[in-house]
Symmetry: C2
Subunit: 192 residues, 2 copies
Amino acid sequence: MARAGLTAERLIHAGAELADEVGFAQVTVSALARRFDVQVASLYSHVKSSAELKTGIALFALAELADRVTEALAGRAGKDALFAFANAYRDYAREHPGRFAAAKHPLDAETAAASAGPRHAQLTRALLRAYDLDEPDQTHAVRLLGGVFQGFVTLELAGGFAHSSPDAQQSWDWSIGALDALLRNHAKTDGE
Amino acid sequence: MARAGLTAERLIHAGAELADEVGFAQVTVSALARRFDVQVASLYSHVKSSAELKTGIALFALAELADRVTEALAGRAGKDALFAFANAYRDYAREHPGRFAAAKHPLDAETAAASAGPRHAQLTRALLRAYDLDEPDQTHAVRLLGGVFQGFVTLELAGGFAHSSPDAQQSWDWSIGALDALLRNHAKTDGE
DNA sequence: ATATCTACCTAAAGACATTAGGCAAATAAG
DNA sequence: CTTATTTGCCTAATGTCTTTAGGTAGATAT
């Protein structure tokens, strides 16, 4: 029999595609084996376990998303950069809902530290440079923005804003615009 | 043999407790049967399926959370109400991480409409009354707040802010305070 | 006390995860 | 080019979870 040519990378990538098609929760070793037309046990030469496979997909998605954001941020600053970051994030989630779900997959501390997670934080700090925030405000802002992006997009993808007007796009633009104003108001030593 | 006295309600409640102990994803019909010391198949007289059980826990958690928020909001308005709402939400998630995860469980449109989800939106609108926003700004604000609460708390619970200073509490207070300012700036016909 | 109902049971089948051990295809050594 | 070695994929088997079908005994009504 001809070999299928499996590798951990191909499995993770196919797992990401499968996640976008059927949902991250439905990504199983068995489904992946069917997709490659091999026996289930064969995958275990390349991934240690189902958990490791899902972690691999999570790391892949986090890195891909960070790449997108990096590209979106290039040559921009201030409000322009904020919108570019936010839209890159949201667009990725809408194009790749399964990978986005994977990116939210919990990682143990060690894995998280080696993931693209810290890169996301760095990208946010780069974006915030134009807003000229003191510490610890900058860290607060990193967390607020992370929360808004992830939370809003998650709710939108879950259908939370469907069947009601105005459409989600408008609320998104309004929210990011409001955050821009919020950040400008907090520049440097500015209280309350 | 003495009967265990199972009912759908007891199963859902026990499922919520189990979720807090071992994680919502680990709540299974089997684990619940072990907890009640009955055979697995016995549960199927009370719940149609594993999916229905999880949906039941999700609805329970959403309602419980809405109750908490309702209580927190009583007699408060403006910034005070905003902090009360936000803290009730976050405290619930920290006290009941499994139920909080359950509350994020995707529901089909019909179930979602009959859930406490719309009540959450109404509570947010009640909170926003003091900020005197025009439509569609009020809807935008409902969505922004929903996103921030859910996103920030999810990231915090996932350990995203661990091992770094300042602690999450400070970022939370800063963020909610900043949102209060944001909302005040957008009162009525206020552009930019 | 008998009849009905139903809560919980046993039994069985199907899906997924995982491990152990085997064969054949790719690769390296002669 | 042949032989030796590695290793990619296979078969087989076990355990867990979900779900359905049909039975029994304990609760409830007559």
